[in-house]
């Protein structure tokens, strides 16, 4: 039976673990995000969604709270990097990011394991890009050009979704803590082996 202070120590270390996890994951996502923007693509404004690889991995391996923290922190800091914190572009990417996170979180919780990594990634990419398309069309009050382009968006979401799904899958596989579906805090492991 643990003493009160030992339990509090556990809690603190648990929280520190969580914090460092979130911090590292955020950094990782940011790097991926910058990389994503730097890679030349046939249609520059449809992102590959590299950062979402980590978001999805966290959703599956840790939990939605950690994933949400990392995801939204990344969007915020990423926007600061790109100089667009209080601009309409930020609103655009934020909306796309928020909605796609919601869709992916729900999909992980309810559609898995029926759906696999690829399916969920695809949904995330689709939601993100389609939201952006819709918002841009509404903002410009021009639906015709955008409306003609949406199957292109679907196509690229398909492509990129498959890629990030694949990456996320192997990312999870190689990190045992994520693979088991539960992140085992090192402290608890130590307590067990003790």
């Amino acid at each position: 039976m643990k003493s009160g202070s030992e339990k509090r120590a556990e809690d603190v270390r648990g929280r520190v673990e969580k914090l460092s996890l979130v911090a590292m994951a955020t950094v990782f996502e940011l790097v991926l995000f910058v990389l994503d923007s730097a890679i030349p693509k046939p249609i520059p404004w449809i992102k590959i969604g590299l950062a979402n690889i980590v978001t999805l991995a966290l959703l599956i391996g840790v939990g939605w709270r950690a994933a949400a923290a990392v995801h939204f922190l990344r969007i915020l800091i990423g926007a600061v990097f790109r100089g667009g914190l209080f601009t309409p572009f930020f609103l655009l990417s934020f909306s796309g990011g928020a909605l796609s996170f919601l869709v992916m979180a729900l999909a992980v919780r309810w559609a898995m394991p029926v759906l696999g990594f690829v399916g969920v990634s695809f949904l995330g990419a689709l939601t993100h890009n389609f939201t952006q398309l819709v918002l841009v069309a509404l903002a410009l009050s021009d639906t015709t050009v955008m409306a003609l382009l949406w199957p292109v968006v679907v196509f690229f979401s398909l492509l990129y979704g498959c890629f990030s799904g694949y990456s996320s899958y192997h990312f999870c596989r190689r990190i045992p803590q994520l693979a088991t579906g539960r992140l085992i805090p090192a402290q608890t492991q130590a307590a067990r082996s003790a």
């Binding site: 046939p42 249609i43 520059p44 559609a111 399916g119 292109v152 679907v154 398909l158 088991t180």
Partner: protein, 131 residues
């Protein structure tokens, strides 16, 4: 850990992806039957309509896009893109269009050319002039 790619995934991808392309194809097929006499091509850069040209008159037009210029050529009653400043040049490979509803898109540059009939949907145009 969940699987990488399940049957449900496949269904989902096929359903969404397939239907959007079927939709594209259907629209063009449908418009092919609505042929009109003199037709025109509307050229847009982003939201702005840059020009509305008659297909019967050979013209060459350079349109400024997001990444660079795209040259639109009207010749022999058809429209095509040449010298497009974009990485994949899908627009150039689209070739020539001349039926109502057909479009060529240079997505990176957001330049679009679509065939319309002479009375366009633009509210600024007149149906005739009394002289």
């Amino acid at each position: 850990m969940p699987k990488l790619f399940t049957f449900a995934d496949l269904l989902l991808l096929l359903a969404v992806g397939g239907s959007s392309f079927a939709f594209y194809g259907f629209r063009f097929w449908q418009d092919r039957f609505n042929q009109t006499g003199p037709t025109q091509v509307v050229i847009q850069a982003g939201k702005r309509i840059v020009a509305q040209l008659d297909l019967s008159q050979d013209t060459t037009l350079s349109v400024k896009g997001a990444l660079g210029d795209v040259t639109v050529v009207v010749s022999g009653g058809r429209v095509r893109f040449v010298n497009a400043h974009c990485p994949l040049k899908i627009c150039e490979k689209t070739g020539e269009i001349n039926h109502k509803g057909e479009i060529i898109v240079c997505a990176p540059n957001q330049v679009l050319a679509k065939i319309v009939d002479s009375t366009s949907e633009d509210s600024g145009t007149l149906d005739g002039v009394s002289r």
